[in-house]
């Protein structure tokens, strides 16, 4: 047994890995290591880039989604004197669009920027504007009409504005159906609500007639029809809201 072992060992002991074989293999392994490391690095860089792109996409999507939410109006405010202006308000109470519904309204919006501020700030800015103030005289009437699921809250907040109260202005609420109908007639829904109210007393009145009238004139006609002859303030409800909404 040991003799056989000795013979095998003796026969094979000179079979050895040569220096070249070891050196070449070590060189090959180092080259492979470098290649692998570069691959891993590239893979890491690739993964980092992918993560960065994913994060950017998430932000873009979130941003796009957030922007969609931001720009989507949930409430509308019609501000009528003679200038008729409508504000679209998002869920953050920010004005996302403003549109004039007659020449004076369009003209005002050329001078006053009302977008991307709260609707209370927009109303305040409008009332403080010198150009707009020209329409606010003792014979005029400022009427603010709100279409919103939270119209009561919005009207209360508007009525708390000192400038608004000083003008003895009036607030009403309306609805989207009335607003859509008003827009078909190229009229602000605040003025259209007043028209609808007047038309209940005066069947001869038309939308075209109201186009040529200020909101104050329509309000005065309503008062006349209602048989009241007192001052504007006595006509207002205690909280400044109208009990009559523009439903029809």
């Amino acid at each position: 047994m040991s003799g056989a072992r000795n013979e095998i060992q003796k026969s094979m002991e000179n079979i050895r890995a040569t220096a070249d074989m070891k050196r070449n293999t070590l060189f090959y392994l180092e080259a492979q290591r470098t290649k692998k490391n570069r691959g891993i690095l590239q893979h890491k860089q690739s993964m980092t880039m992918r993560y960065a792109m994913a994060v950017i996409c998430i932000f873009l999507l979130a941003g796009a989604g957030g922007y969609q939410v931001y720009r989507r109006p949930v409430s509308y405010i019609s501000i009528d004197v003679n200038p008729s202006i409508e504000l679209a308000v998002n869920r953050f109470d920010r004005v996302v669009s403003a549109k004039g519904y007659n020449a004076d309204g369009e003209d005002i919006l050329q001078h006053v920027s009302l977008k991307n501020i709260s609707y209370l700030q927009a109303i305040e800015r409008l009332l403080q504007d010198a150009y707009y103030s020209r329409f606010l005289n003792r014979d005029s009437q400022l009427v603010v009409t709100v279409v919103s699921e939270h119209s009561d809250v919005m009207m209360e907040q508007i009525n708390e504005n000192d400038s608004f109260r000083a003008l003895d202005a009036m607030t009403y609420s309306s609805d989207t159906a009335c607003m859509a109908e008003a827009h078909q007639h190229e009229m602000s829904f605040g003025k259209y609500r007043a028209f609808l109210e007047l038309s209940q007393y005066d069947e001869s009145i038309t939308v075209e007639d109201c186009h040529g009238m200020t909101i104050g004139e329509i309000q005065n006609r309503i008062k006349t029809c209602q048989g009241h002859s007192g001052s504007k303030t006595t006509e207002k409800h205690s909280n400044g809201h109208s009990g009559r909404h523009g439903h029809h």
Partner: protein, 159 residues
């Protein structure tokens, strides 16, 4: 991935053994060099750890045998006898050693492994069974048959 220090260490420790296992399986130096590199490449990429130096040595034996087998299978050369390798080593071998090696290399492949591992690396049959993933009785049988063949050819100590 194993460190450069580890690779250098196992190169010194197992290079000759890996070379000998390749020698008993493969036809020529080129094949040996390729399989030799493959074995060390497997080590470089091996993520596991070894419990002991014996464990590590057995890993090299098993991986080298498998690498040789895979190499031969890939080349569809399983039936040849690696005498070319012997011819390449002829310059460093004396006649008695060459005769023994020639007899060993003419053994069927499975016998070559057990003869080499049993006589040269001095593994027990139990250890060889574990390394090769065979039953102990199979290893005993292979050893017995391999010794019978060598005894027939070489006589002498094998008788």
């Amino acid at each position: 991935m194993k460190s450069t220090e580890d690779v250098n260490r196992v190169m010194e420790a197992y290079a000759d053994m890996v070379r000998r296992i390749c020698f008993v399986h493969l036809k020529n130096r080129h094949d040996t060099e390729d399989v030799f590199q493959n074995v060390y490449m497997k080590y470089l990429l091996y993520e596991g750890s070894f419990e002991s130096s014996e464990h590590e040595r057995a890993w090299f034996v098993r991986v080298t045998i498998n690498a040789c087998t895979d190499w031969l299978r890939a080349l569809s050369r399983r039936k040849w006898v690696p005498l070319d390798a012997l011819a390449e080593e002829g310059t460093v071998l004396d006649d008695p050693a060459k005769e023994v090696l020639e007899a060993v290399l003419k053994l069927p492949e499975k016998y070559r492994d057990v003869i080499y591992l049993f006589y040269y690396e001095e593994y027990t049959a139990v250890e060889i069974a574990k390394i090769l993933g065979k039953k102990e009785n199979t290893v005993y049988t292979w050893l017995s048959r391999a010794k019978d063949i060598l005894r027939e050819k070489l006589g002498g100590e094998w008788s």
